[in-house]
């Protein structure tokens, strides 16, 4: 194991033992091998940058590096872009640890020295973020290398294997060249992905969101604080923002759009699918911090004369998120709410039973202008999973769900 702090400034000689200069950076060519150091950059005494390909390095140790050819034969054809340079792109930069789902700042990089018949290769093993690495950086060049090893051996180390390291590159063109993808992020739970997003700067957030599919992006965006949602959506193109907002729950979408500058909101709505836009627009009319502001318009509503079979059919055709459906709502003429049928009842009832007969109690509901406290208290008092919201004529407008209420309670604390 050898650390970048030990490799940096390493004196480098050619095959004849002539001094070439000191090592300044190492480059990886991800299009060939994302673990192998492909090029060694050496600064000559005349301040010229020399590039040595991996095949021409014969030995490397904490003391010095040597090439297998004389200085005159060092040949290096570097692709100008598409290289990950350890010092420039990795050291001191933020990276995503996809295994621990965290954003960390790299302190040191660990390599393995691998002799390979005629030459020696360096293989990147892990990035180092522990106290030992910090001490190495601090003392680098001030003490002898073996002394630093002794000092740091007592300190805790923390490494992230290179395969779990996701570099962050805001420039999309360079991202493609460096073969950086955020595919593994898409597999994370949206809440974990959101935690990662919160740690990133605005441009980095944008770069991650841009590379995710709409649905994953929407799930993650739904979980970050509103202030950050606003900044993020604002930095995306209106078309992309609309795609993401479309995939969000209408109540979430309305909350974000309410905070955006009016002209941006209009632009995003214009880019959305007409039906989704209409739903969100309806919600935008309700005041923040009232039942109307908390509710979603994704729910299943049926005439009170309908049967169990019709309800199951409606569930099959439901376009929203099924996980959030806990009940179906019954209405008489003019959408006036009458009863609420829990899903479990549908399972144990006869297919042709009228829904009306399954429940005896009238549905508990709340007027759209009820304040936050009232809504929370109702959930608490009646042990609810969902609470229908009605207008002054008892017409069903939407539904508040328990997960939104939980968030309200936590935010209040």
């Amino acid at each position: 194991m050898i650390y970048f702090t030990e490799l940096e400034n390493l004196p480098t000689h050619d095959a004849k033992g002539e001094y070439l200069g000191h090592l300044v950076d190492l480059a990886i060519n991800p299009s060939q091998n994302s673990f192998q150091v492909a090029y060694f950059y050496v600064m000559t005494p005349k301040k010229a940058l020399m590039c040595i390909p991996r095949e021409q390095i014969s030995t490397i140790s904490v003391r010095a590096a040597q090439t297998s050819v004389p200085a005159a034969d060092i040949r290096c054809a570097v692709p100008d872009e598409g290289l990950i340079c350890i010092k420039k792109d990795v050291l001191d930069q933020q990276i995503i640890d996809v295994n621990d789902q965290k954003v960390v700042r790299v302190i040191d990089v660990d390599f393995d020295i691998q002799p390979n018949h005629k030459h020696t290769e360096l293989r990147i093993v892990a990035v180092n973020v522990g106290a030992a690495a910090a001490a190495r950086r601090l003392f680098q060049g001030l003490f002898a290398k073996h002394r630093i090893r002794t000092i740091t051996s007592v300190l805790p180390t923390k490494t992230i294997p290179w395969e779990f390291v996701n570099l962050i590159e805001p420039d999309p063109a360079r991202r493609v060249k460096l073969r950086i993808s955020y595919n593994r992020l898409a597999e994370l739970h949206p809440a974990d992905l959101a935690d990662i997003l919160e740690e990133l700067s605005r441009d980095e957030q944008r770069s991650v969101i841009e590379s995710l599919d709409d649905e994953t992006a929407a799930d993650a965006v739904s979980e970050i604080p509103t202030r950050m949602q606003v900044a993020l959506l604002n930095s995306l193109s209106a078309g992309r923002a609309a795609d993401i907002v479309e995939e969000m729950d209408p109540d979430e979408a309305a909350d974000v759009l309410q905070e955006l500058p009016p002209e941006t909101t209009a632009e995003v709505l214009a880019n959305m699918d007409a039906e989704d836009a209409e739903e969100v627009r309806e919600l935008l009319g309700f005041e923040e911090n009232t039942a109307g502001g908390f509710m979603t318009t994704e729910y299943i509503v049926l005439q009170e004369t309908a049967t169990v079979e019709a309800a199951v059919e409606a569930l099959k055709n439901f376009s929203g998120t099924l996980e959030t459906v806990h009940a179906v709502y019954l209405v008489k003429q003019d959408l006036v709410l009458t009863k609420l049928v829990p899903l479990a009842l549908l399972l144990i009832s006869e297919k042709d039973a009228p829904l009306n007969s399954l429940v005896s109690d009238e549905a508990i509901s709340v007027p759209f202008h009820a304040d936050r406290k009232t809504v929370i208290n109702m959930f608490h008092k009646y042990n609810l999973l969902t609470l229908p919201v009605v207008d002054d004529n008892d017409r069903l407008l939407g539904v508040v769900t328990a997960d939104d209420v939980l968030e309200l309670v936590i935010r209040e604390k």
Binding site: Q94, R105, R137, P261, R411
Partner: protein, 424 residues
């Protein structure tokens, strides 16, 4: 058919602009006001008490310098979306950042001590013992930040800014000679008396501090201000800087109209100034002056440790933020809590003669740190890959480098004065 009257559209546009302005308002004004902390108030009081209206003119160049420096960090925050400590770490590596953060931590601990000392002496004017005021104040600021949400905290901070009005009122009550004050403001009076020059250096030093640069940039980033709204954000910075010096102006004239006019006497703390005002300008002016001091000290005692914890964690890569729970961001909470506890304890346990060296040391460390921070800022602000089209223009660079050079020379003189007085 009817058309919307032009005035109406203009009004709507004006209203829109005002709304955008209010939404980006905060970072600049808050940073600038924390700047008028216990140490600042003391320096301004001494300036007024010793030299009357004759130092008022320095406030104009100081305001300009402050605007130049603060505008750069605000711009960097908006363009890069990253904090200053982040940028320094990415650009200058771990060791530089570590040393910078270590010095900043020490400096700001000293500053926190002087804030709690200010709180104690301000409350002593109201006959409240420091053994009550300091622990109470410490718990109050700690709870506000740890238990409050970002929005609540910012509102409380903006309210604290408003209380600086008390200095304006006490300035009026002191019945200054307005004509002389106006003359002193526009007419530079340079006396080649060393003490007078040091007073000027002190004024500059107390107004432009390293921590402010980190705090302002982080606050701008935190607020998520975009380039589109940068114009409003710049006004936030400019107005903040002007407010600082308006408050400074009134503190100076309050002391000039009373203490200086009645023959002048030495004041050893900001609370001394409040007590000195009592027989000369009445109880109300003295009470307002002391109230302003308490407000400023409390305000700075909560922002300084907070800004320090944020900056250090950002630079060294620890998790930070008041929206995190203590076990998620242990380094952040330990730093914040530690600074408040150690700051408060120093005032309670140490005698005044022992507090002075700490406060003096922190001013010296401030002075050492400032040139480095300014140079890093200027270099970062000129980087094409970071700032793109928003990097400093040639003209701005000339102004900025000159400003920074003057500040650096003045701080250097202050350092020599504190450490090696025999050479000056």
């Amino acid at each position: 058919m009817f058309t919307i009257p032009a005035t109406w559209t203009r009004f709507k546009r004006w209203k829109m602009n005002a709304l955008i302005f209010l939404s980006v308002l905060g970072p600049g004004i808050i940073t600038a006001n924390v700047d008028n902390d216990a140490g600042g108030i003391y320096t301004y009081s001494v300036a007024g008490a010793r030299y009357g209206y004759s130092l008022l003119w320095t406030l104009i160049p100081i305001t300009v310098a402050l605007i130049v420096v603060q505008e750069m960090v605000a711009r960097m925050g908006v363009v890069t979306g990253k904090g200053l400590a982040d940028l320094i770490r990415e650009e200058y590596g771990f060791r530089t950042t570590f040393v910078l953060m270590a010095v900043l931590l020490l400096t700001n601990w000293g500053n926190t001590v002087s804030e709690f000392a200010g709180l104690a002496s301000g409350m002593s004017v109201f006959h409240v013992s420091r053994f009550i005021s300091v622990p109470l104040g410490a718990v109050l600021v700690w709870l506000l930040v740890v238990r409050g949400t970002y929005r609540v905290v910012e509102k409380v901070f903006l309210m604290a800014c408003f209380f600086y009005v008390s200095y304006l009122i006490s300035g009026f009550i002191a019945h200054p000679t307005w004509k002389q004050a106006a003359l002193g403001t526009i007419k530079p009076a340079i006396a080649f008396d060393t003490n007078y020059l040091y007073m000027i250096i002190g004024l500059v030093g107390t107004t432009i501090a390293p921590w402010m640069q980190f705090y302002l940039q982080a606050a701008v980033v935190e607020k998520g201000i975009k380039m589109k709204h940068y114009v409003q954000s710049r006004w936030d910075v400019i107005i903040g800087c002007i407010i600082v010096d308006v408050v400074a102006f009134f503190i100076i004239i309050a002391c000039a109209a009373t203490i200086y006019m009645s023959g002048g006497r030495e004041i050893n703390s900001a609370a001394d100034a409040a007590l000195a005002l009592k027989p000369l300008a009445g109880n109300a002016a003295a009470a307002l002056f002391a109230f302003g001091l308490v407000n400023a000290s409390l305000f700075a005692a909560s922002i300084l440790p907070l800004a320090t914890a944020y900056t250090v964690c950002e630079g060294l890569g620890f998790e930070s933020g008041i929206n995190k729970r203590p076990h998620e961001a242990p380094a952040f909470y330990s730093l914040y809590t530690g600074l408040i506890i150690l700051g408060g304890l120093a005032v309670l346990v140490l005698r005044e003669s022992m507090q002075v060296p700490i406060i003096l040391f922190s001013q010296v460390a401030n002075g050492i740190l400032l040139p480095f921070v300014l140079i890093f800022m200027l270099r970062l602000c000129n980087r094409e890959d970071l700032m793109g089209p928003y990097r400093n223009t040639r003209t701005f660079n000339i102004i900025a480098w000159t400003t920074c050079a003057v500040i650096m020379i003045l701080t250097l003189l202050l350092l020599i004065r504190s450490f090696l007085p025999e050479y000056l």
